[in-house]
């Protein structure tokens, strides 16, 4: 049974925690969806405050209609990769629309955001003469992209341009391509990268920047184009990656760039060539959501109002928060045990958030990650604040 031994070691660490926990935070099933912010879980109505549905478009009427029409006209699946039979007119139109919206000349649509990062990084950087530099807190798909590329990979300190500067300075003359990878808003703590400073440092050393705006697309910037728009450096980013699975309320991903060489990825990127393209319904829903985002900023306004409200309420309740107000509001708990307990309290009080414990969390923190949505109503947020108020009372009693 040697194949399974490693799982036993890992699950042993979790087992004690799970045995103490009334519910299993890692196998919650939304038994019935009631809308963008509500679901039935084990017979109880729950407010969903641990999603990535930032703009709340998963039930947008236009997107639903477009997806239904696409299924009827183009079928349920493409049965092939973008490289072969899986490129339809819808994929090309969405690429053009994304490029136009962001202001880049080129765009490639992938089947997921994970594959967009995997595909871009692994194709762009290659051993032995290219080096990838990544922010230490980058998402798993960026780490995996580095691994698939095989190029030498160096981490720099999270959100620290000086740390990047040092590492770029150390590179020898034998290094040809240098790819710097970072994210706009980070998914766990909701903290935001100093993108402008990073771009300046990278370009000073002749490196190119890949920026993953997975969580910040639709959320930051005057037009919803991400943190790089907010920081005024959108045109300076070499490779802009994103996903359809968050603000665009679908499934899929993309890479956009002004470099015409981006087109090489269409035959050199394995995660583009060797997997089926996103389905017509996914593409149509993302296209409809993109149109809505580009013409209507009211969802973004509402999202930020909700974020400010929750952040202020939690601050007042005395929680330790991981970052200034943003649509991701993470509360830091003392340890794993307390985090499990707190997560259960919130579920009992009708609120689902994400429990995140080490390994895999920044600074080995145990956190409850809450994300707000533009679709959260005032009543939804009342339920959230009430549940956290109850939690703060329980924690205060435990500490006393």
């Amino acid at each position: 049974m040697s194949l399974f031994e490693k799982f036993e070691d890992k699950s042993r660490l979790l087992k004690g925690l799970l045995e103490q926990s009334p519910r299993d935070p890692f196998s919650v099933s939304m038994d019935e969806m009631l809308g963008p912010t509500r679901a039935m879980v084990k017979g109880k109505e729950i407010v969903l405050a641990g999603t990535n549905n930032y703009l709340g478009l998963t039930y947008d009427e236009g997107a639903i209609e477009a997806a239904c029409d696409a299924v009827k006209s183009s079928g349920t699946g493409t049965t092939g990769s973008r490289f072969a039979n899986g490129t339809y007119a819808g994929h090309k139109e969405l690429e053009a629309d994304l490029a136009e919206f962001l202001g880049y000349k080129h765009c490639i649509v992938f089947s997921t955001g994970y594959q967009a990062n995997l595909g871009a990084i692994s194709a762009l950087a290659a051993p032995p003469n290219d080096v990838i530099l990544i922010d230490a807190d980058c998402h798993a798909c960026i780490y995996d992209g580095c691994q698939l590329s095989g190029a030498e990979t160096i981490r720099f300190r999270h959100n620290d341009p000086e740390s990047l500067d040092k590492r770029l300075s150390r590179l020898g003359p034998e290094v040809k391509g240098k790819l710097v990878c970072l994210e706009g808003m980070y998914s766990m703590f909701g903290d935001v990268a100093p993108v402008k400073e990073f771009v300046e440092v990278a370009h000073k050393h002749g490196a190119q920047v890949l920026l993953d705006e997975a969580h910040s697309f639709g959320v930051f910037g005057e037009g919803g184009r991400g943190v790089c728009e907010r920081d005024g450096v959108l045109a300076d980013v070499d490779f802009y990656t994103g996903t359809f699975s968050k603000s665009l309320a679908s499934i899929g991903g993309f890479v956009a760039s002004n470099h015409p060489e981006l087109e090489y990825l269409r035959f050199s990127s394995r995660p583009y060539v060797f997997t089926a393209s996103p389905s017509p319904a996914n593409v149509a829903a993302a296209s409809a959501a993109l149109k809505k985002i580009s013409t209507d900023s009211s969802m973004r306004t509402r999202l930020w109002e909700n974020a400010e409200r929750i952040h202020a309420a939690f601050t007042q309740l005395g929680f330790e928060l991981c970052a200034p107000a943003s649509p991701v509001i993470a509360v830091k708990l003392k340890n794993k045990e307390e985090a499990f307990m707190a997560w259960n309290v919130l579920m009992e009080n009708g609120v689902y958030v994400n429990l995140a414990i080490p390994p895999g969390t920044p600074n080995a923190a145990s956190i409850l990650r809450l994300s707000v949505s533009a679709a959260h109503t005032n009543e939804d947020l009342d339920v959230v604040v009430d549940a956290y108020t109850t939690l703060s009372q329980i924690l205060a009693k435990g500490a006393a």
């Binding site: 230490a136 780490y143 580095c146 030498e152 990979t153 160096i154 981490r155 300190r157 740390s163 040092k166 590492r167 150390r170 590179l171 020898g172 080490p358 390994p359 895999g360 080995a364």
Partner: protein
Amino acid sequence: MSGIQEDDDLVFHKITSLLEPLNEKGVKLTRETDIIADLEIDSVSLLDVVMDIEDNYDISIPVNTISEIKTIGELVDAIHKIKKEQS
């Protein structure tokens, strides 16, 4: 020869001083200690310790190298090799 030995010891001591706070079980740290298995720390924490080492010695240790390292002795040797290459 004794110079190398001494330098080796310094690097070894630096690493053990950085690992000691994570050594919850109080394992005796030697060159043969398997960092992840014996100390029961996760691979992410190891990467963070390596970041401190990098800043201390002003070197870059690629993730690719770290993933091949198991013991404290191997980490010491890797640091010496990279120090030589990057100086």
